[in-house]
């Protein structure tokens, strides 16, 4: 068992809804979507709230050089030696729905190491820890909304449950992003292009709309390569306006 929760068979419970939206044959889900732990899922629909100007949630926290050092964005330089794995550069822009850059905001990343193991006591996957890799980083977006991390490509790891006994998570990066408004808060995951595990991943398939799922997949971008050092992946992040936090969950 990779996860302590999985061993309790509580991680994941039977899907109670079908995937929605147009699906290309290539990306048709081959696994039921992850629906989470029923006991944790609210039964009442969220209460719609139109925010008046001046509402607290239309503003948000600010971060700066007091919070994040440039070196925090290099996950390969946090220990005495080089971590194992394929070195990558992941960068892109954080934009709002109108295409405007989100400037000076906090982007956080966490991930498994190249062998598919998190440096976290909850992760019991029988893959080695890397003494030179913690797997967490932070960056601030610049005036164009750009962020950039140097890290290693994470490994896949098993994700068994009662519903998906043979599931593996595709390599992915967890991202936490702030916008200019608290309503824009986003926690999500980035995937790698061309990954054959994707159509089988319950988590990726938990986004019902196929086009929206594709927006979680980065593109290989040679322009982001560090010559003779790292492979570049570009992933732009678009934050909701306050008008789309829940009802369009399936996008």
């Amino acid at each position: 068992m990779a996860l302590s929760e999985a061993s309790e068979k509580s991680w994941d419970e039977p899907a109670d809804r079908a995937a929605a939206g147009p699906l290309s044959s290539r990306k048709r889900p081959l696994a039921p979507p992850y629906v989470g732990r029923i006991a944790r899922r609210p039964q009442q629909p969220p209460v719609p709230l139109s925010l008046a100007p001046g509402a607290v949630e239309l503003t948000g926290p600010v971060f700066g050089t007091a919070d994040v050092s440039p070196s925090d964005a290099d996950l390969t330089r946090q220990h005495g030696g080089e971590p194992l794995g394929e070195r990558i550069t992941v960068g892109g822009r954080v934009l709002d729905g109108r295409g405007r850059p989100v400037r000076g905001q906090l982007v956080e990343l966490w991930q498994a190491n190249a062998a598919g193991r998190y440096r976290n006591r909850l992760d019991r996957h029988a893959a080695p820890l890397d003494p030179n890799f913690t797997g967490a980083g932070r960056a601030l977006t610049d005036d164009e909304g750009r962020y950039r991390f140097t890290t290693v490509r994470p490994g896949a790891y098993p994700f068994p449950s009662a519903v998906h006994p043979n599931a593996w998570r595709p390599p992915h990066l967890h991202f936490s992003v702030f916008g200019s408004a608290f309503t824009q808060r986003l926690v999500t995951q980035m995937y790698f292009p061309g990954d054959p595990l994707l159509p089988y991943d319950p988590i990726w398939n938990s986004v019902p709309d196929a086009r929206a799922r594709e927006r979680l997949v980065a593109v290989y971008d040679p322009e982001l390569n560090e010559p003779e050092w790292s492979l570049g992946y570009r992933w732009d992040i678009v934050l909701d306006g306050p008008d789309a936090t829940w009802t369009e969950e399936g996008r």
Partner: protein
């Protein structure tokens, strides 16, 4: 131009070594005489504690300003940044030390829970102001889930439990378009 938004995904079980930071719960400047404690538990639909949730609070300063300030992640103990990040412990408990906001008397709360496909929003009210459109639209028993209850005793503390499901389920919010 409208760009389609990047969808949210579950926070997963392994955020605990990445997102929490020292002093995350200490929003009030060190030793501030007006410090209040907001504490409680996050509970699931079976009443079981949720030991792996992450709570993020955003709020106005005591003077009502919503500008915030950098420095939340490496607090110097003197600046009120308006932002706190608090993980729950093994018993589902959290505790936030802050100052009561000026202006609208509530904390915005974003709750991230492994096992949910996306995060949740709610509010923590210190009192219910007249004419608040959200509160006016809720039946009294649901409204009550948004109130931080003052506790007796010499310390200024408030109790606020989050119930994810079932009896007394907390009101969660979906933000709509801003009114002109």
């Amino acid at each position: 131009m409208t760009l389609p938004a990047t969808p949210a995904q579950t926070i997963g079980p392994f955020h605990g070594t990445a997102l929490p930071f020292p002093g995350g719960a200490d929003l009030a400047p060190a030793g501030h005489p007006q410090t209040v404690t907001v504490h409680g538990r996050v509970l699931d639909g079976d009443g079981a504690p949720v030991p792996d949730a992450l709570l993020e609070f955003w709020q106005a300063a005591p003077d009502g300003s919503l500008t915030g300030a950098p420095g939340s992640l490496r607090r110097d103990g003197g600046v009120f940044t308006g932002f706190a990040r608090v993980p729950t412990g093994g018993d589902g408990r959290y505790a936030l030390r802050t100052l009561v906001p000026g202006g609208a008397p509530y904390l915005a709360l974003c709750l991230m829970v492994p096992g949910l496909v996306r995060h949740l929003f709610t509010r923590v009210y210190f009192r219910f102001p007249e004419g608040d459109p959200l509160l006016a639209a809720l039946p009294p028993d649901r409204r009550a889930t948004l109130l931080a209850a003052p506790e007796p005793g010499p310390h200024r503390s408030y109790r606020f439990d989050v119930r994810l499901r079932g009896t007394a389920e907390t009101v969660f919010l979906r933000f709509g378009p801003a009114r002109p």
